[in-house]
């Protein structure tokens, strides 16, 4: 560890040059902007900017791409909070409490918490990447499909916590989400399901398009109800600006931030899981350990700390399997493999031996990326009042157009606009029926992985599913699931005396 620390210090001396810092700033800024735009992802930005790195040296090239990755993961929270449209799937959980806070006039507070929590998560995972990546990589290798299944099931338990006052409706929404996740090709047998003869549906529904429809387009339809009605004004949540988040108040959330960062780091180190799962698992843990779990979903600042620290902690941790084992953890790191190899760095166990100095300079660059993200994020928060100051009668149509273009950009196919519209109508109807959309989203995002891992487990164990419980990791997850369910049931019993829905018409 002392050796790693000394090498990291040498890395800082290498990476801190004006040239490198400029590229880090460009990458992080581009990442934050791209992440904030619904429909655009860090993957797209990295894929587009890789050719720019052909003529660059390894350190500025990789650091710029890491800046895009970290910036985009944070950037999704900006639109999630301001207009209830997560820029990326990773920020889906942030939207629930973030937008509620914005409606209460505390958007500035929510944005600042998202930024600082993302910084903490990113820094902690970067530090763990530097000092204990081989240990974490060993634990990550313990995961087979059975362990994946129970980890994702743990993420699904949050459905019970975000179902609001009517658990039955929340579970109905979750079952609709699970059904929606089965559209496309069967993950094991390759047969088409619910494609209705359309090639466009063979790949399934993309989570970004569904998110855009369910959140933004349904909100536009909801605002349209106010047209021509006296006393009703179409408007965005106001008052971004001046709420401070003093350091003392921020540090009072240290438990949530630490737990979120650890959850995100561990989940990020496991190939194939991703930051949206980390966000939901951390959200669930925050609900479980809260004294007032009923406040989650109504504008709880702790929820933002949990989700944002977890999803940004994935950014550093996703590099662990990549650099130690040569296994990319998600789509972004799969593209980064190409970037590394372009620079002559072959990811794998020998990378530390053969290119140790370059690698530690990149680690130092990752730490600096998170600091730069604080600066670019603060700039974005300063610009946020420009969005909320605009009249709703202008902003909502513009949001609609941006969402259509964002949906189109996902697969360069106008069919995706139709998908977003479909889920926009569904989201609107859910809101009118007071069916929470959060359980739908969670089940939809996690459903595909849940099914494929369950079925892989069955195939691996030749149908003897009980053998998966021989794994200590599975038993730990089962215990955590049971504890979470007990806490959720207890907290629902405490609040069950209050009235269910809005007053009758």
């Amino acid at each position: 560890m002392v050796d790693s620390f000394m090498r990291l210090c040498e890395g800082f001396t290498t990476v801190i040059t004006l040239y490198n810092l400029l590229w880090i700033f460009i990458g992080t800024f581009v990442g934050v902007v791209i992440g904030a735009i619904p429909g655009l992802t860090g993957v797209m930005a990295i894929a587009l900017l890789i050719p720019v790195t052909y003529t660059m040296e390894a350190i500025p090239a990789i650091c710029m791409l890491l800046g895009i990755y970290c910036g985009a993961t944070y950037g999704g929270s900006i639109t999630a909070i301001l207009i209830n449209t997560p820029g990326t799937a990773a920020s889906a959980a942030t939207a629930y409490d973030g937008f509620e806070l914005a409606k209460k006039g505390k958007a500035g507070l929510a944005l600042k918490m998202a930024l600082y929590a993302s910084f903490v998560g990113g820094i902690l995972s970067a530090i763990m990447l530097v000092f204990i990546s081989p240990i974490i990589a060993k634990f990550a290798l313990l995961f087979g499909p059975g362990e994946y299944f129970f980890l994702i099931l743990m993420g699904l338990v949050v459905v019970a916590g975000v179902s609001g006052k009517n658990l039955c409706k929340g579970l109905i929404a979750a079952s609709v989400g699970l059904l929606a996740s089965t559209v496309g090709m069967d993950p094991m047998a390759g047969v088409s399901r619910f494609s209705f003869g359309s090639i466009n549906l063979l790949n399934g529904l993309t989570s970004i398009t569904v998110l855009i429809g369910l959140t933004a387009m349904s909100e536009v339809m909801l605002q349209a109800e106010k047209i021509g009605r006296p006393g009703q004004k179409i408007e965005l949540p106001q008052q971004v600006g001046s709420q401070a988040l003093p350091l003392k108040k921020f540090l009072s959330f240290w438990k949530t931030l630490l737990k979120g960062s650890l959850i995100g780091t561990y989940i990020g180190a496991i190939p194939g899981i991703g930051s949206s799962v980390a966000g939901f698992v951390s959200y669930n843990e925050a609900i479980r350990s809260s004294k007032h779990p009923e406040t989650y979903g109504t504008g709880e600042i702790d929820a933002i700390a949990a989700t944002e620290s977890a999803n940004n902690a994935v950014t550093g941790a996703a590099l662990i399997p990549l650099l130690t084992l040569g296994i990319p953890g998600d789509t972004v790191t799969a593209i980064l493999v190409g970037a590394f190899m372009l620079q002559g760095l072959t990811p794998g166990p020998l990378l530390f031996t053969n290119y140790g100095d370059t690698l530690y300079a990149i680690f130092a660059g990752l730490l600096i990326v998170n600091v730069v993200m604080l600066i670019t994020g603060a700039m974005a928060i300063k610009a946020a009042p420009l969005i909320t100051a605009a009249p709703g009668t202008v902003m909502f149509p513009v949001i609609f157009i941006m969402c259509c273009v964002g949906s189109y950009a996902v697969e360069i196919n106008s069919f995706q606009i139709g998908v977003a519209l479909f889920f926009g109508v569904m989201g609107y109807l859910f809101k009118k029926m007071q069916i929470p959309t959060a359980p739908f989203l969670i089940a939809f995002i996690l459903g595909g992985s849940l099914e494929s891992n369950l079925r892989r487990t069955l195939t691996l164990f030749k149908g003897r599913l009980w053998e998966v419980f021989y794994s200590p990791v599975v038993l730990i997850f089962c215990a955590l699931i049971i504890i979470s369910l007990i806490y959720v049931i207890r907290s629902r019993r405490k609040t069950s005396g209050t009235s269910e829905e809005q007053p009758d018409d």
Partner: protein, 159 residues
């Protein structure tokens, strides 16, 4: 209409949807295959739909138990719910939905620029923005901004 009655109707709706899936859509859209240890491709869709059906029945029954008078004045309350005000609201939403669909059709037929030039100002006008000069300026800025950013910077060709 009371929320117990609304929930009862919501339960009915989801029960009908789940039964349609179970008896018609899943058998039509999902093939069965021969495999030794794995679930069938239709397992998860059936699981989701059966869960939906069971939960819908629970929702209906629980609201019937809460409100014994639920069915007695249900149809009267449905009729009362179709007031002028609620029809006006539905009309507003329908107009916006038609614009949404029109945008999709025009996007395919005449491209992003023309479709946005027609639909964006129409939507702003319908929502209540009545300043024609700024309507044109905002439309132009949005079209130019989005076209430049997506088409030239992100290389997502919009035409």
């Amino acid at each position: 209409m009371r929320w117990t009655q609304k929930n009862f109707l919501i339960g009915c709706g989801f029960l009908i949807v789940s039964l349609i899936f179970i008896f018609f859509l899943i058998p039509a859209q999902v093939k069965t295959i021969k495999n030794a240890y794995d679930f069938q491709p239709s397992f998860f869709p059936y699981f989701a739909c059966i869960t939906m059906a069971v939960l819908s029945v629970i929702l209906m029954v629980s609201n019937l138990i809460k409100d014994r008078m639920l069915l007695k004045d249900l149809f009267i309350n449905i009729k009362a719910g179709l007031s002028k005000e609620s029809l006006k609201i539905a009309g507003n939403v329908a107009v916006i939905f038609v614009l949404f669909c029109l945008y999709l059709v025009l996007f395919n037929k005449i491209g992003f620029i023309a479709a946005t030039a027609i639909i964006l100002p129409s939507m702003m006008f319908i929502m209540g923005w009545r300043k024609p000069v700024s309507l044109v300026i905002i439309t132009a800025l949005v079209i130019v901004g989005l076209y430049f950013f997506f088409d030239k910077v992100m290389l997502v060709h919009l035409s």
